[in-house]
């Protein structure tokens, strides 16, 4: 630890030229992307999201043959999305957990603006990481798949995987903003998507297909039930984002 302390600057504000206005929305989005990747947990989730798909496909190839590219890409999109939920959660709830939200709102007091920037930032990150995951998974499938691999619907599967990456990251950000608690948000989301919704599917499959975002991603990637799948993903995005915005705008920063 350094113990040499220097004297204050000689005259107030003379040496520092600060921007006269608040940061523009693109600046804020870039800043939020940097924040998400500025610590090990954020980088670990990003790396997991990018690598889960190709590694999972490579492992699956040891036990199965791939005859159709779009099928596994849909599953990769769904799995990658579940990891990207966490990236979204830590971008918002992580700020409350570590109390850095105090500094964030001191510098940009317009909370809706901050949330919009976070939403856009995790959407871009989510889409990018999902694209890397889906693209590299497709390369693995091409390498290990059968000779006459069926490429039908691959384009839609890739677009779905990228869109779902953005959607799941935004859902995570909204849930994180609503709960302001990283463990609570992660536990609630994973319990709901991976615990409760599968049970609902057993009890009432018709209802479950209107609720499950992971299933919606897989189905959409394979070209089925397109309107319903998009509605399910959009519904989760809207509900999580609105809940996050309403609760964040009302919550005091203690």
């Amino acid at each position: 630890m350094t113990t040499v302390l220097t004297s204050p600057a000689p005259s107030l504000g003379s040496s520092v030229e600060a921007r006269r206005t608040g940061p523009s929305l693109p600046t804020l989005v870039g800043l939020e992307m940097r924040k998400s990747l500025s610590h090990r947990s954020g980088r670990a989730f990003a790396a997991s999201a990018a690598l889960l798909g190709p590694v999972g496909v490579a492992l699956a190839a040891t036990d199965a043959e791939f005859g159709w590219a779009a099928g596994p890409i849909g599953i990769v999109g769904s799995m990658t999305g579940l990891v990207l939920l966490a990236l979204g959660v830590i971008s918002t709830a992580g700020e409350w957990t570590h109390r850095t939200v105090q500094t964030t709102f001191l510098l940009v007091p317009q909370r809706g603006r901050v949330l919009a920037a976070k939403t856009a930032a995790v959407a871009v990150l989510g889409a990018t990481l999902a694209a890397v995951s889906a693209g590299s998974s497709l390369a693995v499938i091409a390498a290990v798949g059968v000779d006459d691999l069926n490429w039908d619907g691959t384009g839609q599967a890739l677009v779905t995987a990228v869109g779902a990456g953005a959607a799941f990251a935004v859902i995570g950000a909204g849930a994180g903003a609503a709960t302001a608690n990283t463990p609570a948000a992660l536990t609630s989301l994973y319990l709901l998507i991976m615990g409760v919704l599968p049970l609902v599917r057993i009890w009432n499959p018709d209802l479950a297909q209107w609720l499950d975002p992971a299933e919606a991603t897989t189905v959409l990637a394979q070209g089925d039930a397109e309107a319903r799948s998009i509605a399910v993903l959009a519904g989760w995005v809207v509900v999580a984002s609105v809940a996050g915005w309403v609760l964040t705008s009302r919550r005091p920063v203690q």
């Binding site: 630890m1 350094t2 113990t3 040499v4 302390l5 220097t6 004297s7 204050p8 600057a9 000689p10 005259s11 107030l12 504000g13 003379s14 040496s15 520092v16 030229e17 600060a18 921007r19 006269r20 206005t21 608040g22 940061p23 600046t27 804020l28 870039g30 800043l31 940097r34 924040k35 500025s38 610590h39 090990r40 947990s41 992580g94 570590h98 109390r99 850095t100 105090q102 500094t103 964030t104 709102f105 001191l106 510098l107 940009v108 007091p109 317009q110 005091p252 920063v253 203690q254």
Partner: protein, 295 residues
């Protein structure tokens, strides 16, 4: 100039800040004093928009904090030194703040050197001591060299050298025309740093004035060779005299010169003569604790 007017915060039936009003002028360091739970931090959070006020207002140059175009460039705030992501390095933390403020990234290096953390810049904040986190928080507040500084308990965890540096920093800031609001429960530290005291107790401002006016002379203590004779002479001169410790006499409201004149006129031998100044600590407890609660 910062103007706080009728600021009030209620949680249900409980009022934690009650009609607090004050102004902070450029060129002054104001000490915001009060025991734990008195309402200091809540007042500061309302001033900066982090906690919504139940009533009243706070403005910086006539505008609420939230309506300042780039508030961090106007008010440098340190409210909670632990409010830093432990996984980021000190340099990364400051560079992110610099980007939000719109100051050059190199400014992070300057303030790191200014607060004495240049060698720790690449270490994760999770490994910082409390004192280092305080200095990192101060570095963040200084990034844009803002005209107003609002610090909540900034000397917590600082070593004596750091406390002295902090005092010089705040005094220097005020000397350059800046405005400083400094809360602390370390009364001795505040006494040597501030021009003005704002004492809060039970959510209300109970004293507001210059250090000199609040801590003015309160009398004199005298010790004489013949205590009884001097006491008689002082009472004959119209002074109220109280017995002190070890045979000393306490004369409330008297200046040492007054007592010296009586002693000289009567030929009394004085062994000790000094003014009595009410300590900040005495004032603090007298103003902020209900009578009888201290025993």
């Amino acid at each position: 100039m910062i103007t706080v007017s009728g600021l009030t915060k209620r949680y249900g039936d409980r009022t934690v800040v009650d009609d607090v009003s004050f102004t902070l002028e450029p060129g002054t360091v104001t000490g915001f004093l009060g025991p734990n739970g008195a309402g200091k931090t809540t007042t500061m959070r309302m001033m900066t928009g982090l906690v919504p006020a139940s009533a009243g207002s706070a403005t910086v140059d006539g505008r609420p904090y939230g309506e300042l175009p780039n508030p961090g460039a106007v008010v440098g705030t340190l409210l909670d030194a632990s409010a830093v992501h432990p996984g980021r390095t000190g340099r990364t933390h400051l560079r992110l703040l610099a980007a939000a403020l719109g100051v050059p990234a190199e400014r992070a290096e300057e303030v790191l050197a200014q607060v004495g953390l240049a060698d720790a810049a690449r270490r994760r904040v999770g490994g910082y001591s409390l004192g280092m986190r305080q200095r990192l928080g101060i570095a963040g507040a200084l990034l844009a060299d803002p005209p107003v500084l609002v610090f909540d308990e900034p000397v917590n965890g600082l070593d004596p050298e750091g406390i002295r540096w902090m005092r010089d920093l705040l005094r220097g800031h005020a000397a350059r025309g800046g405005t400083v609001l400094l809360s602390s429960h370390l009364l001795g530290e505040v006494e040597h740093t501030v021009d003005r005291l704002l004492v809060i107790g039970g959510g209300r401002v109970v004293a507001d004035g210059s250090v000199a006016s609040l801590l003015g002379p309160d009398g004199a203590v005298v010790r004489a060779g013949d205590t009884a004779a001097l006491r008689a002479a002082l009472e004959a001169a119209g002074f109220h005299v109280e017995p002190g410790d070890d045979g000393a006499l306490v004369v409330p409201g008297a200046r040492p010169g007054d007592i010296g004149a009586v002693a000289a006129a009567g030929g009394h031998v004085l062994l000790d003569l000094r003014p009595v100044q009410r300590g900040l600590e005495d004032l603090f407890f007298q103003l902020t604790w209900p009578e009888g609660t201290l025993s």
